[in-house]
Each structure stands twice: as C-alpha cells, then as structure tokens.
Symmetry: C2
Subunit: 136 residues, 2 copies
DNA sequence: GTGCATCCTCAGGTAACATGAGGATCAAGC
DNA sequence: GCTTGATCCTCATGTTACCTGAGGATGCAC
C-alpha cells in the first residue's frame, strides 16, 4: 500500500504517518524501487493502534511505552491497564481545573450581566475583577 | 522596579515578563541608563491582568483582545463578558471530551481488571481493544 | 576586589504535528 | 508520446507559550 492508502486506512494524515515513522513508532517500513514507502496490513494495524492511543489522549511517549508493552512476546496487559489508570487520573485533574475555570468565568460574566443588564454601566467591575489576583 | 521584582509582584517568571513585552502586551517599558528595564505600578497591574487572563485559560491572542477592550477610554465590559462566555463554551467542549475519554479508558481498564483479576490472562483483550478503531 | 545575584540579548528547545518549497514519479486520457 | 493532475519524496519552517542556556555586562555585599 502507498502512504496515502495507509493514512486513509489508519485515520491519520500522510504527514502524521511520516511523523510517526520519524518518531520510531513504526517498525521498518519497506521501500519500493522508486523510493516510495510501502505498507502492509501489520503496519496499518500498528498505525491504528497509535492513532487510537493518541485519540485517547496518550502522549507520543506514552504510546511508545504502550507499544513496548504490546510488542512483547506475551503482551503485558497489566502495564497497559496501569497506564490507562494513570491517564484517567490526569484527566480527572484536568476536569477539576476546567470546572474551576468555568466557575471563575461564570462569576465574572455574571458580574457584568447584573451590572450591565439595562445597558453598559460604569458600575460594572468585570475588568477590575479580571485584574484582581484572586484565588485561582 | 527591576524585572525581577516585577515578575515577583505579578506572579510571572522573568522570562515570561520579557515574553509578554515581545508579544506587545505591555506598554512601552522604560529603561535605566544601564539598559535595564524599569517597571512602575501600572506595568505591574497590567502584568497581573495578563497573568490572570492566562490562568483563566485565555490565549495570548485573547489577552491581546481583552487588553484592547480594557484599554479603551471607557472599557468595553460587554466585549470582555462575551469573550468570557465564548471561553466557557470551549471549556464545556473540553470537559465533554475529557468525560468521553475517561469513559473509554475506564471500560478498557475494566476489561483487564475482569480478565486478569486472578492473574494475567491470555483472555484479556485490552490490547486488541486499544487497537480497535471504535467510536471515539 | 572578589563573589554571587541579577540583568542583557540572542538562539534553540518543547509537543505533535501542519504547511509549503522544490522536485520526482505515476496513472489516465488524447 | 505527451500533457495533466494526483501522489510521492525530502527538508525547512510555523504553530503555542513560554523555558533554558550561552556569553557577557552590571550591581551589591563583604
């Protein structure tokens, strides 16, 4: 298969496929006599694996580790699970941060909504509030 | 004030303060005869404003706009509010994505937890599941 | 005057690709 | 056989918001 087909079948862009190769995530990719890359189904599966892991939010470095765990003669599924669990922790932290940001923004917006309900009011403190170094 | 003091009082690093200047977020910063930057309280307030907006998740470009709205003779608080509301939308999208990721990871981890409850089992499909191009 | 802290200006690194330049090759149609 | 458009190649640079370090000047304390 050409890189274009590989990209299509793996859900990557052509540039991304080349990038993953540069990053060493793929096993040696063959070359046709004309110099073009040639992909087989195992390569496609590997690309899909990488793509899916990235979609799940794992970093390329994480994916490298995940591939290491799955490349072993008998895949180390416990290691994979642990990375999944670790990633869930990060996600929970991110969500907490997002929730806090939304809170702050919401109260900021409300400041203005109340003060400027009728029209723009000089009593609106949204700008000052934005500058105030509060908890957050 | 020196850049070090300005950094400390605004909650930025020295490098960040220089960076914001490069980005044009600060008004002309004075220089001492020895070439060092000199900051006044208005500069500190501005830095704090920028820092707080960044902490709230606005991009530097957003901050530029926010500064534009607040620099006006009479600050355009409605514009500020609108940007806050727009940003809240983005945050909600991000949270939805995070929730979805957590779901997927959770079900992945459960796959392994169940199959490998006693010990590592060849029946565990976590690796295959990771490779499967599912909805997500 | 001897350190150590702080400052200066570049330049390059980070993450994960996207985009474009400049050029070769392929497949299809005439 | 030739043109045309799609695809491929490599290499370089852009993106975001800074961080880090090189190499050197200055300031302050003892």
């Amino acid at each position: 298969m050409s890189i274009g087909q590989a990209a299509q079948r793996s859900g990557c862009t052509v540039a991304t496929v080349r990038h993953y190769e540069d990053e060493g995530l793929l096993k040696a990719i063959g070359r046709a006599p004309n110099g073009r890359r040639v992909y087989g189904w195992p390569d496609i599966h590997r690309l899909r694996f990488v793509r899916r892991c990235r979609d799940l939010g794992f970093s390329v470095d994480d994916v490298r580790s995940l591939l290491g765990a799955t490349d072993a003669p008998s895949p180390d599924c416990l290691a994979v699970r642990d990375m999944a669990v670790a990633h869930m922790k990060r996600l929970r932290v991110m969500r907490a941060e997002i929730d806090a940001l939304e809170q702050s923004l919401s109260s900021l917006a409300n400041t203005c909504n109340e003060a400027c309900a009728i029209g723009r009011s000089p009593a609106c403190t949204i700008v000052e509030d934005l500058g105030a170094t509060a908890s957050g």
